[in-house]
C-alpha cells in the first residue's frame, strides 16, 4: 500500500458492493449484446476518391489501407458459406476503384480483387472483377502486373476462357518494362497460345523472345529452347499429318 492510499477498510461497504454489482451488470449486459457483423446488403455506395482523401486528413496512404480493412469486414456473417458471394459487385468495384485512386501506389485493392473477390464461383461476378483489374492495370503496369497475372490464371483455369487469359497475358508482355519482372509473367502468353493450339503464333513469339537476348539465365534459355524445339516438332508433325 502506498502512502497516498488509505486502507480498503476506509472504503464504505456499499461502495464496494456498488462497484462489484455495476461491473457485473456491465459485463453481463455487453456479453448479452452481440456486435452485428456487417452483411453483404450493408455495403454502402462508394464515396469518391476525393471524399476519401478529405476523410484521410492528408494521410491518403493510411486512409486507403484502413478503407480496405474496413471493406474486408463485409459479408462476414456466419451463414454465408462462400465469403463475398452475395456482395453487390458493382458497389464493391466502385469501392476498390475509389480506394485505389486514393493511393494509386497501394497494391492492396488489386491484390484483394484478384485473390479474394475474383475467386467468386459466380462467373459473371468474377468477370467483372477481372475486367476491373485489367482496366486498372494500364495505369501502372510495372507495379500492377501481379494482379493481372493472377487474373490471367483465373481466366484460364477457373473460367476456361483462353482468349481472355491470352488478352491479359499479352497486356503484361506488351506494357511492362521493368527488368525485374519475372520472365514467366511475360511468357504467359506463349503457353496460353500453346493451350489454344495456336502453335505457329507461340513458336513465333518464343523465337522472338529468345532472339531479343533478354533471357540471360542459361538454364532458363535451355528450357525455352527445348520448348521451341518441341513446338517446331509438333508443327512439323501436324503439317505432315495435314494432307492425309
Amino acid at each position: 500500500m502506498s502512502r497516498t492510499e488509505r486502507p480498503w477498510s476506509a472504503v464504505p461497504g456499499w461502495i464496494l458492493w456498488l462497484l462489484a454489482a455495476a461491473a457485473a451488470a456491465q459485463i453481463g449486459w455487453r456479453a448479452a449484446q452481440h456486435a452485428p457483423a456487417p452483411s453483404a446488403a450493408d455495403l454502402p455506395p462508394a464515396p469518391s476518391a476525393q471524399a476519401l482523401r478529405v476523410a484521410g486528413l492528408g494521410e491518403p496512404a493510411v486512409m486507403a489501407r484502413l478503407a480496405m480493412v474496413w471493406l474486408q469486414a463485409f459479408d462476414s456473417s456466419g451463414d454465408n458459406r462462400i465469403p463475398y458471394q452475395r456482395l453487390d459487385y458493382a458497389r464493391l468495384i466502385a469501392w476498390l476503384r475509389a480506394i485505389l485512386a486514393t493511393d494509386p501506389r497501394s497494391e492492396y485493392p488489386l491484390f484483394a480483387a484478384a485473390r479474394v473477390y475474383a475467386e467468386n464461383s459466380d462467373p459473371a461476378k468474377a468477370r467483372r472483377v477481372l475486367d476491373f483489374i485489367f482496366q486498372e492495370f494500364g495505369a501502372d503496369p510495372n507495379r500492377r502486373w501481379p494482379a493481372l497475372a493472377h487474373a490471367a490464371l483465373l481466366a484460364k483455369h477457373r473460367l476456361q476462357d483462353l482468349p481472355l487469359a491470352r488478352r491479359y497475358a499479352a497486356a503484361i508482355a506488351q506494357h511492362t518494362t521493368d527488368e525485374s519482372i519475372p520472365l514467366w509473367a511475360r511468357q504467359m502468353e506463349i503457353f496460353i497460345l500453346e493451350d489454344m493450339n495456336e502453335l505457329e503464333a507461340a513458336r513465333v513469339m518464343l523465337g522472338g523472345l529468345l532472339a531479343t537476348g533478354r533471357i540471360r539465365d542459361p538454364e532458363e534459355r535451355r528450357f525455352l529452347e527445348g520448348r521451341l524445339e518441341e513446338l517446331e516438332r509438333r508443327l512439323t508433325g501436324s503439317s505432315k499429318a495435314g494432307p492425309r
Binding site: 480498503w8 472504503v11 455495476a22 456491465q26 459485463i27 455487453r30 456486435a35 462476414s76 479474394v116
Partner: protein, 244 residues
C-alpha cells in the same frame, strides 16, 4: 458546478461551437449539388456532438485541476460532508452541465429535424455528455495532471465509439487463423465487455431518417446509464481510498 460552468468560458465556447458548426455545415450545403439540407443537418449534428463531448470533458478536468491547485478539495472535506456525497454532488453537477450543453446544441437543429426525432437525439446527447463527464471526473480525480486525464478520457471515448467496428474487422473472413489472431480477437471481445456502445447512440442519421424505435433507444440509454453507474462506483472507490 452549474454556477462555475456559467462563470467560466464554457457558455461562450459553446456558442462559438454552435456558430462554427452551423457555418461549416452551411458552407458544405452550398457546394453540395443535392441533399443540401440533409448534409447540413447531419454535419451540424456530428460536429455538435463532438464539440459537446470535448467541451464537457475539458471543463470537468480543468475544474478538478483548479480545485486541486486552490486546495478547495481540502477545504470542502473539512466541512461536515462525506466523501461519497462530495463526489456524487460533483458528478451530478457536471452531468447537469452536460445536459445544458446538449440542450443548447439541440436547439439550432430544430431548423432541419422533426421535434420528435430531435428529442431522441437530445436525450441521447445529454446521456452521452453525462457519461463523458463521469469518465473525465474519474480520470481527473485519479490522475494528478490535466493532460493525461484529458488524453485518457479521449482514448476511452474513441475506443468505445470504435470497438464494434474493430470487433467486426477482427472477426472478418479474411482474418488469419493463427493463435496470435485468435488471441487478438479474444482480447478485443474482452475489451468490448468493459466499454459502453457509443456507436449506437446520438447518431446523426436519426435527424435525417427519424429516431430509432423506442425499445432500441431505451436499450442504448440503458447501456449508457449502466456505464455511468459503473464509473461513479469506480470513482467513489478511488476517491475513498485516496489520502489527502
Amino acid at each position: 458546478m452549474l454556477v462555475e460552468a456559467l462563470r467560466s468560458g464554457l457558455p461562450w465556447l459553446a456558442a462559438a461551437c454552435v456558430l462554427v458548426s452551423l457555418g461549416l455545415a452551411g458552407f458544405l450545403s452550398r457546394v453540395a449539388i443535392t441533399e443540401s439540407s440533409a448534409l447540413q443537418a447531419s454535419m451540424a449534428g456530428a460536429l455538435l456532438r463532438a464539440c459537446a463531448v470535448f467541451l464537457i470533458a475539458a471543463h470537468v478536468v480543468a475544474s478538478i485541476a483548479r480545485e486541486a491547485n486552490d486546495k478547495g478539495l481540502e477545504l470542502a472535506l473539512a466541512l461536515p460532508i462525506s466523501r461519497p456525497s462530495y463526489y456524487l454532488g460533483k458528478l451530478a453537477g457536471f452531468a447537469c452541465a452536460g445536459a445544458l450543453l446538449a440542450s443548447l446544441f439541440a436547439l439550432p437543429l430544430l431548423a432541419w429535424a422533426k421535434p420528435a426525432d430531435l428529442a431522441a437525439w437530445w436525450l441521447s446527447l445529454a446521456a452521452e455528455a453525462a457519461l463523458v463527464a463521469a469518465v473525465a471526473l474519474f480520470f481527473a480525480s485519479a490522475m494528478a495532471q490535466t493532460v493525461p486525464a484529458i488524453a485518457a478520457a479521449a482514448g476511452l471515448y474513441l475506443l468505445a465509439r470504435a470497438i464494434s467496428a474493430i470487433q467486426a474487422i477482427a472477426g472478418g473472413p479474411l482474418a488469419s487463423d493463427t493463435p496470435l489472431a485468435h488471441a487478438a480477437r479474444w482480447t478485443m471481445d474482452a475489451l468490448a465487455l468493459l466499454l459502453p456502445r457509443l456507436d449506437t447512440v446520438t447518431r446523426s442519421d436519426w435527424l435525417l431518417y427519424g429516431a430509432p424505435p423506442a425499445a432500441e433507444l431505451a436499450q442504448g440509454l440503458f447501456g449508457l446509464a449502466l456505464y455511468f453507474v459503473l464509473l461513479a462506483a469506480a470513482g467513489l472507490f478511488d476517491f475513498s481510498r485516496r489520502n489527502l
